[in-house]
Amino acid sequence: MATITTLAPRTRRGVELVLLVFAVGIVMLAYVNVGIAVNGTLPPSIIAYGVGLTVLVLAVHITLRLRAAYADPVLLPAATVLNGLGLVMIHRLDLAENRSGGEAFAARQMIWMALGVALALAILWLLRDHRRLQRFTYTAMAAGLVLLLLPLLPGLGKSINGSRIWIGVGPLSFQPGELAKIVLAVFFAGYLVQTRDALSLVGRRVLGFSLPRARDLGPILIAWLASLGVLVFERDLGSSLLFFGLFVAMLYVATERKSWIAIGLTLFLAGSYLAYLTFGHVERRVLLWLHPFSAKALEVSDQLVRGLFGMANGGLLGTGLGRGRPDLTYYAESDFIVPSFAEELGLFGVFALLLLYLVFVERGMRTALGVRDGFGKLLATGLAFTVALQCFVVVGGVTRVIPLTGLTMPFLSYGGSSLLANWAILGLLLRISDQARRPAPPVEPTNLAGSDAVTQVVRLR
């Protein structure tokens, strides 16, 4: 009699450790590269950065061994390289701008990274099963709305560079929208898991499209209005696009109806066109997008043009770390960090970074495929998709695929809120992926003795 034996799934933690050694190695190499190019010597701070980075990622790695042994082995190394290279570029720009000590952006970014890692660790230790989050569906909705509205509160909200997406407490500023995208993903997942049947099954077919009932349009209209509200009142094109895109993508995955995508795109285009006609700041963004070199556009801003010059200067192979002039571009360490890398690492470097993001996102998607519960699928999809969409909006903005918006590159850009949010996303994805890859619990053989046993009692630990 042939027996079927299943291979015990491997945890792959060893693979992760090897990849982490490579990840930290790449970052250290880049750091040394910058030091030698700029000052001609090995930077003395390399020990602090090296030890800091190693301790942080090892803490996550050990936690995974203890609390989520089956988590995806590629996510953490990918995030490590991205965050580490971001630190290197920020440090390199610190050198160019003569920022040092407490002024250095890299030191602050390191602190934010530590906080982000702490947040991810907290998620891994405290949240033993992601399905628990489903209980907080409506709490998440409320939290998401509050976070979105916070910047509009007088006294608390701050307007920076025309966008009102910041809150300031004392000297600290924070972008609540970054965290809002996570709680909103939780809300969308919980809400759509409950309502997906109504949203997907009922309706009429028109021209091969199954259209939903009018009253089921409510949620997408609310999401649309909310994102338009962000665009109008907070003047933030990027967040608006991100929230709405996230919602439509999750709606599509939940309902398997392409018509939602069509409806979503139509609404988005209509809304954008209205905003273009109505609001000066949107119109300026479009002008900068289509005709960045025109005299009229240069009067408004030459930021995009400077970024393009930087990328052109990099060419295929780049100037080498520390040998270009990324500091000539405004916000070279945050919104324009990709042109900074493009200048110094060249087209090949940018390809490597983009592929690293793609790997990260696709591992998130794979997690969604593997996990067994609908909530987990939707949440993992949503989280992975926000990262992808944010990359698209940022890089697409600086390379003139779409109008430039003010968003940060996940893990790479300077910015505390962004870093916290992305490590939280990583923590959640690791947690869900552990569920996805963990083998089904073994069947207890105790009751199988009697031949009359018809049913098995499966006891879950």
């Binding site: 993508a249 599509y252 995955v253 939940a254 398997e256 070199f293 240069l298 030459d302 043009v305 400077r306 393009l308 010059f309 930087g310 990328m311 052109a312 200067n313 990099g314 060419g315 295929l316 270009g324 002039r325 000539l328 493009a342 060249g346 087209l347 940018v350 390809f351 983009l354 592929l355 993001y357 793609l358 996102v361 696709e362 998607m365 969604a368 495929l369 609908g374 699928k377 939707l378 999809t381 992975a384 998709f385 992808a388 969409l389 990359c391 698209f392 890089v395 697409g396 390379t399 003139r400 695929v401």
Partner: protein, 485 residues
């Protein structure tokens, strides 16, 4: 839900493909056109990041680049700005390499010249900091100083040449300016300075010595006329020519008078030497009539007129009009009508006579050296043309010596040195004081220096300023500066 997740993953892959295409388009397809955009600061900075080579006079820099703390890495400075402004030109991050050696030798100074390609490659491999080449000039600092001091506040120009080689020993144009003001790194100040210089009525940016508005040469042109006469074979230095008080010009009612209102010699006759010595208009006017316009023009061309020279600063060609009728020829013979010259051209006339009739090609750059002092190029003296025969040159020399020893140019005399020269006082437009001219060379028997001086509108003396009184002393000082051991 797995099917839509897979499809969404495809959407993500598509989005990233868009980004790969867009970055490729910018960094590969468009890269070079973006780099060449005029407002691309990175390209400008790349030029500035390389240390620009110095411009040297007798081993001392008259333009040099020193490291700075700002974005531009190097600051161009001119240690003796007013004295050398028209030689160096300026190097401005707003207006680029403007005028002078800065512009004409830009590729070598900046290090981007093809001649330096091999060195750039070596620098790249060895990691040595690339640097532009050093340009050494032929200028004699003492002569340059004497010329500049002599002109002082007067408007005009001085050019001194080594007649045997064509090397330019002094090149001065007044008024001058301070190129440091244009080389600064403060955008608004530089723009203001540029505006001021361009608005200045005295036009200090004009290099009057080689590329200003051309001057009428006045009586200094009589040397060319005399050369044509001697070369024709029918005259020698002692030939007696008519020199009446006024010369009746055919075909017109206008007559050509002498400046000193009277006949040039007893009975209105005198030798050719004497005619040059006292600058007799009627004698040379009649020579012009006899020789004809074409002979004058051809002789002038043999001295370099009409030639587009590059020293390597571009020189405006001097001109004698073609197809002159007899009265025009008579006027041209005394340097009037439409004869127009640069001071450099008149220095070349003096140098041609001095160098036994051979005009050497003038040049300003002696040697170009790489950072490691290897010679990249060295200018060899080149013959431009033979203006007159050796015999004619000697006759002309003897005639010009008489001008200084006992004629209109006595104020150019140098104790112990025989000086040959010719004065000029060039009328230009009614009511304006004439330009004072002097061309000379010395020592007459073994010429070391040839010089041309023009002082606009009679200089400090105005209507009382003549070539002999205003321009000759300046020429004398310059020649003395060169001849001093």
């Amino acid at each position: 839900m797995n099917a839509p997740i897979r499809r969404l993953a495809m959407v993500v892959a598509f989005m990233f493909t868009c980004l790969l295409v867009s970055t490729t388009y910018i960094q590969f397809v468009q890269a070079s056109s973006l780099r060449d955009k005029p407002n691309n600061r990175r390209t400008l900075l790349a030029n500035y990041a390389r240390e620009r080579g110095p411009i040297l006079v007798h081993g001392d820099p008259i333009a040099r680049s020193t490291p700075t703390d700002d974005d531009l890495k190097f600051q161009r400075s001119y240690p003796d700005p007013q004295l050398y402004a028209h030689i160096t030109g300026y190097y401005s991050f707003v207006y680029g390499a403007g005028a002078g050696v800065e512009r004409s030798q830009d590729a070598l100074l900046s290090g981007s010249a093809d001649a330096l390609f091999y060195r750039r490659m070596v620098d790249l491999v060895t990691g040595r900091k690339p640097q532009g080449a050093a340009v050494e000039l032929t200028i004699d600092p003492a002569a340059q100083k004497a010329a500049s001091d002599g002109l002082g506040k007067q408007t005009g120009a001085v050019v001194a040449l080594n007649p045997k080689t064509g090397a330019i020993l002094a090149l001065v144009s007044h008024p001058t300016y301070d190129p440091n003001r244009l080389a600064g790194h403060d955008l608004t100040k530089v723009q203001q300075a540029y505006q001021d210089l361009n608005d200045d009525k005295a036009r200090p940016l004009l290099n009057r010595a080689i590329a200003g508005d051309l001057y009428p040469p006045g009586s200094t042109f009589k040397v060319v006329t005399a050369a044509a006469a001697l070369s024709s074979g029918t005259y020698d230095e002692d030939t007696v020519v008519p020199g009446p008080a006024t010369l009746d010009l055919p075909q017109t009612s206008v007559n050509l008078p002498n400046d000193f209102r009277g006949a040039c010699g007893p009975g209105g006759k005198l030798s050719l030497t004497r005619a040059l010595q006292i600058s007799c208009n009627t004698a040379f006017g009649s020579l012009g009539l006899k020789l004809g316009g074409n002979a004058l023009r051809e002789q002038a061309q043999k001295f370099g007129f009409g030639e587009s020279l590059s020293v390597p600063l571009p020189v405006t060609p001097s001109q004698v009009p073609a197809d002159m009728n007899p009265p025009q020829s008579a006027q041209a013979a005394i340097g009037q009508f439409d004869v127009r010259v640069t001071p450099l051209q008149m220095a070349m006339v003096a140098a041609g006579v001095a160098n036994d009739g051979v005009v050497m090609k003038p040049y300003l750059v002696q040697t170009v050296r790489a950072q490691d002092l290897d010679v990249i190029s060295q200018t060899q003296p080149q013959q431009l043309s033979r203006a007159v025969s050796s015999d004619v040159a000697q006759q002309l020399t003897r005639m010009m010596v008489k001008v200084v020893s006992g004629g209109t140019g006595t104020r150019a005399q140098i104790p112990g040195v025989t000086v040959a020269g010719k004065t000029g006082t060039a009328q230009h437009g009614d009511g304006k004081a004439p330009h004072a001219w002097f061309i000379a060379f010395a020592p007459a028997q073994d010429p070391q220096v040839a010089v041309a001086v023009v002082v606009e509108d009679g200089g400090e003396l105005g209507h009382e300023g003549f070539g002999g009184s205003i321009a000759a002393p300046i020429a004398k000082d310059v020649m003395q500066a060169v001849l001093k051991p």
